[in-house]
């Protein structure tokens, strides 16, 4: 009777009083696939909406009588996950297909929100086309696969050639160490005072972008550059904040303390990423941006912030390791998958829709539309894809030396702890040391004490 007493009582009373009689639209239609995805908070960006609209048309044509209902969730990253998880908890609200970030997927699998896809994948010949790391991205600790990845990504430094020219910096800039980046930013600050020299995402409002584009791009470039600085696979424990952790926080602190970064208020606005892509970069107001490979999706034709000249205006540089130690460059990779909630009412039809989206032609269309990196080897080998967009080659080459997050069930909360540490040094509320020790405390709580020191 413990947890269920109150709800059961409530349910019976509700039924008895026939209050639910006026319910509408709660029943699910066996012929409709409900698809939930993240809609940009920038009202002029509708890349995914456009693509899914097209897929819906194809699907409905190929499967007469079946329908796709698109349920966009419009929220900044950090709030999208919350809304999604809230929806996954109840069969009433669970869609048939959801767009899941791979950093969260293990956590959601542990909660029992998602359905293993192995029975479907076994019978789907195209699954063999997916590259190994992509297949592993949605594989849980139980050995089952819970999602079909729709691409991956890498990260690097974007810089504005116009700003660099004004500051007297080279157009083929390639920093070797963190200090090189800071030096360039300081030069920009001095010589081109009306632009933001360097953007590093930070703080809780930026969500996973702060952790991954910001912090981890720094952290994974400390130490020997090969072992995972966050999670120790041998002991299966999370690693408390060591010197590398503090150095990475120190970098963030420097950027904001010396005002090399955006104004702190702007940096801590949940929609700052949207402004970077929609305003700061296209308007030449940002010198260097530590960001993901997907940026050009907003600038393609028909995507809202058309900016076809971006490839002439912006340069790309690899993110260096801290002191330039081998391997010399750092990248992080993540990506999103299509997953079927365990409470979905039409899982079979949902997978049929996944297959529609993941034909070679449609997958390729999507990789290009959202500036993704192909995870199907047939697309990756297709010259039409490689040439479709400047930048694809640069970012695809980074895949060889990229890192993947330790996306275990506790990861999302570890990530939040990292964001808190970043935010406190960004605002200047605490010193690097204090922020790092606060992180250690938090890490113990969120991982149930599974922490080791290195």
């Amino acid at each position: 009777m413990r947890p269920t007493a109150a709800p059961v009582l409530l349910a019976t009373l509700l039924a008895a009083t026939t209050l639910t009689a006026c319910g509408s639209g709660s029943g699910s239609d066996p012929d409709t696939v409900k698809v939930s995805y993240k809609q940009s908070t920038d009202n002029s960006i509708r890349v995914m909406d456009t693509y899914l609209g097209e897929m819906k048309k194809q699907f409905e044509k190929a499967n007469p009588g079946k329908k796709v209902e698109l349920v966009p969730i419009k929220a900044p990253d950090s709030e999208y996950y919350t809304k999604l998880q809230q929806m996954l908890r109840s069969p009433k609200t669970a869609p048939d297909l959801v767009y899941e970030d791979t950093f969260l997927i293990n956590s959601d699998i542990t909660s029992g929100y998602l359905k293993p896809l192995d029975p479907y994948l076994d019978k789907w010949s195209d699954w063999g086309r997916f590259i190994g790391t992509a297949k592993a991205a949605a594989k849980a600790q139980d050995g089952k696969t819970y999602g079909v990845p729709d691409g991956t990504d890498t990260r690097g430094l974007w810089f504005d050639k116009g700003v660099f020219a004004k500051a007297g910096l080279p157009a083929d800039w390639q920093p070797k160490t963190w200090d090189d980046i800071l030096a360039a930013a300081r030069t920009i600050k001095k010589k081109v005072p009306d632009v933001t020299p360097l953007n590093v995402y930070t703080g809780k409002p930026a969500g996973e972008a702060a952790t991954m584009q910001g912090f981890e791009m720094l952290l994974y470039g400390t130490g020997d550059g090969t072992t995972d600085p966050l999670y120790d696979t041998a002991s299966k424990k999370w690693i408390a904040g060591g010197q590398g952790f503090k150095d990475a926080l120190g970098f963030v602190e420097t950027v904001y303390k010396e005002k090399l970064g955006p104004d702190v208020t702007d940096a801590l606005d949940p929609n700052f990423a949207t402004s970077v892509r929609g305003e700061l970069l296209p308007k030449g107001k940002l010198g260097i941006d530590l960001d993901g490979s997907w940026l050009p999706q907003d600038w393609l034709k028909g995507s809202g912030h058309e900016w076809p000249e971006w490839s002439q205006k912006l340069g790309l540089a690899r993110m260096p390791t801290q002191h330039g130690q081998a391997p010399g460059k750092v990248s992080m990779s993540g990506g999103w998958t299509w997953s079927i909630p365990s409470k979905a009412s039409n899982p079979d039809l949902a997978f049929t829709f996944v297959k529609t989206m993941q034909t070679k032609a449609n997958a390729q269309k999507w990789y290009i539309a959202n500036s993704g990196i192909a995870v199907r080897n047939d697309v990756a080998a297709d010259p039409a894809y490689v040439k479709a967009q400047p930048g694809i080659k640069f970012f695809t080459d980074l895949v060889a030396s990229t890192h993947y997050r330790p996306a275990y069930p506790a990861y999302p909360r570890v990530s939040t702890a990292i964001q808190e540490a970043m935010e406190s040094v960004t605002t200047g509320d605490s010193s690097v040391d204090r922020a790092a020790s606060a992180y250690d405390e938090e890490l113990k709580t969120v991982t149930d004490g599974q922490v080791t020191r290195k």
Binding site: L10, P76, R89, T93, N271
Partner: protein
């Protein structure tokens, strides 16, 4: 001279005081009016920013831009359904409940009223997390009716309290005549008491409606599907993106969204002194 001043004292002192009071009030009113001025001026300004300024030219283009189904009409309709339903339920339940509390003496009245009074002041915000968890368990999450019930329940304590106070003001003698004619309690409530306390019912109705119309947290927690969202939540989602938001449109939408409750309030206040009646009812 001295005599003259002395004689003039009461009147001149009073008018001097009135002048001082007027001046003080006008300063406060100006401070309160600035943010309001921003929303009105910006809604008519094609190049609005965050500052209060006279528009270069008055335009309705901001209104044109937001008067679309997905931005304005659907959320407002959702708001209307939620708040209309919630208010109707609140007022009916409160009127029914207030009647026995006001008319019959029972040993249950005092504990019941105390509980109601206690519930009036509970911070509803605090229970939203468990309400969410509970609604997931009983499948009321993301349903209009679930949200309506919760709205009604959260407004009921105060509504019952107000309603009972207003009802106490209706003399009992009128009903007693009806009872001797064989009217039931319900009949006398509907035919005699409620019509006599029209202003009270109006105050309760408008107050409940205004509270629900503006409430953000309840629908934010209990509804998930975008098409069901009332204006209080959709406005935040649509305009939450500060970096690229068009302030003129935000202002125009704010004006559209706020107008119904302001009109309702003005209607009640002008005809019945609504706000002041409310102040009187809670003053203790």
């Amino acid at each position: 001279m001295a005599v003259l001043t002395h004689r003039a004292t009461p009147r001149s002192r009073r008018s001097g005081r009135r002048l001082a009071a007027d001046a003080g009030l006008l300063v406060v009113a100006a401070a309160f009016a600035l943010p309001l001025a921003w929303v009105i001026l910006s809604s008519l300004d094609a190049h609005a920013d965050l500052r209060v300024k006279m528009p270069d030219g008055v335009t309705l283009s901001n209104f044109d831009a937001v008067l679309k189904p997905d931005i304005t009409f659907t959320p407002l309709l959702n708001s209307l359904i939620l708040c209309g339903g919630g208010t109707a339920l609140t007022v009916v339940c409160a009127a029914l409940a207030a009647y026995p509390l006001s008319r019959f003496r029972s040993r249950l009245n005092r504990p019941f009223l105390l509980t109601i009074l206690f519930a009036t002041s509970l911070p509803i915000t605090a229970i939203m997390v468990p309400v969410y968890a509970l609604f997931v368990q009983v499948n009321l999450i993301d349903t209009t009716q679930g949200t309506v019930f919760f709205f009604a329940a959260s407004q009921l304590p105060f509504a019952i309290w107000l309603m009972k106070n207003f009802m106490d003001g209706v003399p009992k003698e009128l009903e007693e005549a009806a009872w001797t004619d064989g009217a039931s309690s319900l009949q006398s409530l509907v035919r005699i008491v409620l019509p006599l306390m029209g202003p009270g019912v109006a105050v309760v109705t408008v107050f409940s409606f205004v509270m629900m119309w503006g409430n953000f947290f309840v629908p934010f927690m209990l509804l998930l599907t975008p098409d069901q969202m009332p204006a209080s939540v959709s406005i935040n989602e649509f305009f939450g993106n500060r970096g690229t938001v068009v302030y003129g449109q935000l202002a125009a939408f704010s004006v559209i969204y706020s107008t119904p409750v302001i009109l309702l309030y003005v209607l009640v206040a002008r005809r019945l002194g609504g706000g002041f009646a409310l102040g009187g009812a809670v003053k203790g």
